[in-house]
């Protein structure tokens, strides 16, 4: 039924056009009903069809199509090829409204892209260029060991997007060698989650302005992997700038997945930074006692 409606209005430049229906005389569906129908659509394939039906619906459908957007580097080779979305956004100076529509971006690269000329480096370069152009992002989820954070453009892109006033939430998962100091650029971040992330002290590219910390972080969730808590303490919390980022922390979830690098006093620095603001503490230790 809905597809029939779409077929009918697709021939018309205006919404609410006359629609032929087998069992009824010619009737006009009111615009608000058509809008309600479209608002009820919850799968992207149908939304794409709606977006192509007429220019009136395009804006509403596009907004919802791109609201939460996923880039799966393992599957979406085409997005990085010429003509693909990522390639187009990065390599053209056109005013593409997609970059202002994406509010929640999930980037996943577990294995690296093999089919692309330039390999993983080209992908990371384009991803960095792509996220740099986003203007209204609220939540960023980056995961996968296929991403290599030694590639400068990707790190630059992350630093740029972290400075967006709209960005409230950052989730990083299964990343190797993440330069921990990057998070200091997250001026408006409310929540950070690290899951199976291995930190390195810093490979922040030179020439960047120092981050301006306005302590906004309210929630930190991390699992302590490979001296994670220790690196956090040594390379973030040892400076006044780093400590300032945690002074409004209200919720801390710290889980030790392994006893390697697990030292009791590492937690002291983190708790000292947020001891007057912390309201909710989840502390899952290993209790292995491997001294």
């Amino acid at each position: 039924m809905f597809l029939k409606v779409l077929d009918a209005i697709s021939d018309s430049p205006l919404p609410g056009a006359r629609i032929g229906m087998d069992d009824y005389k010619e009737k006009t569906l009111p615009l608000e009903i058509l809008e309600n129908i479209i608002n009820a659509v919850d799968d992207k394939k149908t939304l794409k069809a709606c977006a192509l039906s007429c220019s009136y619906f395009q804006r509403n459908c596009q907004r919802r199509l791109f609201w939460d957007f996923e880039i799966n580097c393992d599957r979406d080779d085409a997005a990085f090829q010429e003509g693909g979305l990522i390639h187009t956004v990065v390599h053209t100076n056109l005013d593409i409204n997609v970059v202002s529509l994406i509010r929640y971006l999930k980037i996943e690269n577990r294995y690296g892209v093999w089919g692309l000329y330039g390999g993983g480096k080209a992908v990371d370069h384009m991803l960095g260029g792509f996220i740099k152009k986003l203007t209204a992002l609220e939540k960023l989820d980056v995961r996968g060991a296929g991403l290599e954070l030694r590639h400068g453009e990707l790190v630059n892109g992350l630093i740029t997007v972290l400075q967006l006033p709209s960005l409230r939430e950052l989730k990083l998962a299964s990343l190797n060698f993440f330069p921990i100091q990057i998070i200091l650029w997250g001026q408006s971040l409310r929540r950070i989650e690290f899951e199976r992330v291995i930190f390195v002290p810093s490979i922040v590219p030179g020439g960047l302005k120092k981050p301006l910390i306005s302590p906004s972080l309210e929630e930190l969730k991390m699992d302590n992997r490979k001296n994670g808590c220790s690196i956090l303490g040594l390379h973030l919390l040892s400076s006044a700038l780093g400590r300032a980022a945690f002074t409004k922390l209200k919720k801390l979830h710290l889980e030790y997945r392994e006893s390697e690098g697990d030292r009791p006093n590492d937690i002291d620095r983190l708790l000292s930074a947020c001891q007057s603001s912390l309201e909710d503490l989840n502390l899952f230790l290993t209790h292995d006692g491997m001294l």
Partner: protein, 167 residues
């Protein structure tokens, strides 16, 4: 109390020393806004006796100097290697001491405990009902106390979230 447990004194446990260092690093008493605290402990038994771990003494040490604002405590206890003769393990491992220590937490209103005993027999699990209890703090402070015994797998629960901790 079994004889094996009676011979174990605190300084002999490396794990106890380790957990004591943790309790000292955490120092709940310095947290002036803390309302909710959640943690997990592992209770390990072998051949009916407590292994070389004192998880509940860690909790006891932790709450000895409690944050004055703390209202709610959520504990997740993984009972490993359940076998015969360990029905009184929580009692001998410091659980009773924990009960006494919690009485001194001034703002405490709620305690919830999830006990995951996947490797215990049904009889052992039934016996746990009588020991994972905090009668003193409940009576003295009128604290709301909720318990849940579960046999969900250890692997699933290794990274339990706080959502799963709540009732």
């Amino acid at each position: 109390m079994n004889q094996h447990a009676a011979t174990l004194t605190e300084p002999e446990f490396p794990a106890y020393k380790y957990n004591k260092e943790y309790a000292q690093s955490i120092r709940l008493s310095r947290m002036t806004s803390l309302r909710r605290f959640s943690t997990r402990v592992y209770v390990t038994t072998r051949d009916g006796y407590l292994e070389e771990e004192h998880p509940f003494r860690f909790l006891r040490d932790l709450f000895l100097e409690c944050s004055p604002t703390l209202e709610s405590i959520h504990l997740l206890c993984f009972h490993r290697f359940g076998d015969t003769g360990d029905e009184n393990i929580p009692e001998i491992s410091g659980w009773g001491e924990l009960d006494r220590v919690l009485m001194s937490c001034p703002g405490l209103r709620e305690i919830s405990v999830v006990v995951c005993c996947t490797q215990c027999t049904p009889d052992q699990r039934a016996a746990h009902q009588g020991v994972y209890d905090l009668p003193m703090v409940i009576r003295a402070r009128n604290v709301k106390f909720e318990r849940q015994f579960t046999d969900v797998s250890y692997e699933v629960n290794i990274s339990l979230t706080t959502r799963q901790l709540s009732f």
